[in-house]
């Protein structure tokens, strides 16, 4: 599976420093001007804050999941289903 972090609120340099500081091993994409964010969530997903938002895109390219609260159990259940894990 593929994991991408996407940041739009921070400066590019801050994001790069963050990757270094946290030792992130997955890509951190820079969404300048929140263009992608605005397409994915133009305010229709009930949320108190834009961050964090976890989206899962299924193997068929369709949106399978969105959540703005950290819920690892649900997240993993959706990913397991996509990966065909029992």
């Amino acid at each position: 599976m593929v994991v991408w972090a996407i940041g739009s609120e921070d400066e590019y340099a801050d994001l790069a420093a963050y990757v270094e500081q946290m030792g992130m091993t997955y890509p951190l994409l820079y969404d300048e001007g929140a263009a992608v964010q605005d397409v994915y969530n133009p305010g229709r997903v009930p949320t108190n804050s834009k961050y964090p938002q976890d989206w899962i895109i299924g193997v068929d390219g369709r949106v399978k999941y969105v959540n703005t609260i950290y819920d690892p159990v649900e997240l993993m259940a959706v990913l397991d289903a996509e990966l065909g894990v029992e």
Partner: protein, 518 residues
């Protein structure tokens, strides 16, 4: 639509459910000052404008056809005389420079609190002026913190690309690092006697002899756990909150070699656990708090779930009160009868509420940008309204949806008003007074056509939250990406200089994490 419900439990609490605020000078955007000084949703200028209609008490229980629904007063105003709120924030202090908080503990002997997170470990004390930060150690990302004596703490770290997971033992006063133990993906810890038990998020628990804290010696390693987060040790048994396996019970009959004796999977994975008076309470995220009987301490049995809202990530207990940090706020739950837990009160926090610890004084809550002390008065009973959704969707052809208003509190909940900011919305309810433990159904009928975008307001006598607003939307709005729709393609540069395109990943599940470093 499970996802919707999941999103909504917590957002119900966070949506701008502003009550009239006579003391403040400005109303929030979308609200106007009414004649009585309160803030009202635009179009509802005061309490007197919409004379509440008397409820039609003509029905008994509603049937599915809706012929016996009641009509609540059509308003959205805070109730003048609310029941007393048993839950109070006693102190609050803002915290700067934090990006994350994971754990908090209380040192009874020194009356200090410790908060672990990113990028520091902080120590707090209650002083005359409130909560004061007494120490701050900039350690980078820390996970859990455990007491190893009055002046010793252990801090766990998950590890990163440059350095593996580990536990570091500190003397707090001089902040001297005494020892480091390498533990892969280190998570929760517990010191019992001369032994420190350290969970590894990779599915293990390691036992260290720390009779000399400066030179810990590993004496045992046990695999077979899933993704354990935290552990509580009581009377020879360890109870592990495991995010994939649920509640895992360890026997400590030989303290140098804990062994798994049972695994209890109830509603789902657990992220934190506390044991109190023969029961274990597990933080089960948006599923609530799962309660286990320890009548047989080697084989916990799930006896129920209490859902105070939000996503429960941390639990603590003292004096028959179970406290939860649920990311959006704090809840106090009376567990004097674990078979009938009662939500005493809930309160939103100013920032993400991530960890809670309890003492006789109440609960100490650590959020991203604050620490707070909460106290609850058990002699005060109040209703607690939990609306099950923060948004109702009306796809084309749908004319009716139902909201559920649960009274999780200890006193009768009364529904004081129901209104919508749109014409062509009809609102009815099956009961205007809701006994503790009961729920009212609110029927929302959309008699119009075309796109729908507005709000339903539910006014109750819940002292924590008298006004709750629920979005009403047409779900098939093509400007939003919703579940089941093709994901919009995009290409972005990573900060590593690579170029990434979503559509190239077709055939692989993709987890997109929108985040910010703050």
């Amino acid at each position: 639509m499970v996802w919707m419900r999941r999103v909504c439990w917590w957002s119900v609490l966070m949506l701008s459910c502003s009550e009239p605020k006579p003391d403040s000078t400005e109303c929030e955007t979308g609200f106007s000052r009414g004649e009585d000084g309160g803030c009202y949703l635009d179009g509802e200028t005061s309490q007197t404008e919409d004379e509440p209609e008397p409820p039609s008490e003509d029905g008994d229980l509603p049937d599915d056809t809706g012929s016996d629904w009641l009509t609540a007063p059509e308003n959205c105003i805070a109730v003048d005389e609310l029941p007393s709120d048993p839950l109070k924030r006693e102190m609050q202090s803002s915290v700067t420079g934090f990006a994350h908080v994971v754990d908090t503990i209380y040192n009874e002997q020194t009356d200090r609190y410790y908060v672990a997170g990113m990028p520091a470990l902080t120590e707090w004390k209650v002083s005359e002026t409130g909560l004061t930060e007494t120490l701050r150690y900039e350690l980078g990302a820390t996970e859990h913190v455990a007491l190893m004596g009055p002046d010793r703490v252990a801090i766990s770290r998950r590890g990163d690309a440059s350095r593996g997971g580990r536990v570091e033992i500190f003397a707090v006063d001089e902040f001297e690092e005494l020892a480091t133990i390498e533990v892969r993906n280190a998570a929760g810890m517990r010191m019992v006697g001369e032994y420190l038990y350290v969970l590894s998020g990779s599915g293990a628990v390691s036992t260290f002899d720390v009779s000399d804290t400066a030179s810990p010696v590993q004496v045992h390693h046990l695999d077979g756990l899933g993704n354990p987060w935290d552990i509580e040790v009581v009377d020879g048994y360890g109870y592990v909150a495991d995010n994939t396996q649920g509640l895992v019970t360890l026997s400590f009959s030989d303290p140098t070699a804990p062994a798994i004796v049972s695994t209890t999977m109830g509603v789902g994975g657990l992220q934190d656990v506390v044991v109190y008076d023969g029961h274990a309470y597990g933080a089960a995220g948006s599923r609530g708090v799962e309660i286990f009987s320890l009548a047989d301490p080697s084989a916990p049995e799930s006896i129920g779930v209490v859902e105070p809202g939000g996503g429960i990530i941390s639990v603590a207990v003292a004096n028959d009160v179970l406290w939860t940090a649920n990311q959006v706020g704090v809840a106090a739950i009376d567990v004097s009868d674990p078979t009938n837990p009662v939500v005493m009160g809930t309160q939103e926090t100013f920032s993400w509420a991530m960890a809670v610890t309890a003492s006789d004084a109440g609960a100490f809550l650590a959020g991203w940008n604050e620490v707070s002390l909460f106290a609850v008065d058990p002699s005060v009973a109040a209703p607690d309204a939990q609306v099950d959704l923060s948004a109702l969707y009306f796809p084309e052809g749908t004319t009716e949806q139902t909201l559920r208003v649960q009274n999780s509190g200890a006193a009768t909940l009364s529904i004081e008003g129901l209104s919508a900011d749109l014409a062509d919305i009809e609102l009815h309810v099956d009961q205007l007074t809701v006994a503790p433990g009961e729920a009212a159904q609110v029927r929302v009928r959309w008699l119009g056509s075309g796109d729908l975008e507005g709000e339903v307001c539910v006014a109750t006598n819940d002292p924590d939250q008298t006004i709750q607003r629920i979005q009403i939307l047409t779900s098939n709005d093509d400007s939003s990406v919703l579940i089941g729709e093709p994901a919009p393609d995009f290409s972005l540069y990573g900060v590593n200089g690579e170029y990434y395109t979503l559509s190239e990943q077709l055939g692989h599940p993709v987890l997109l994490v929108y985040f910010a470093t703050w």
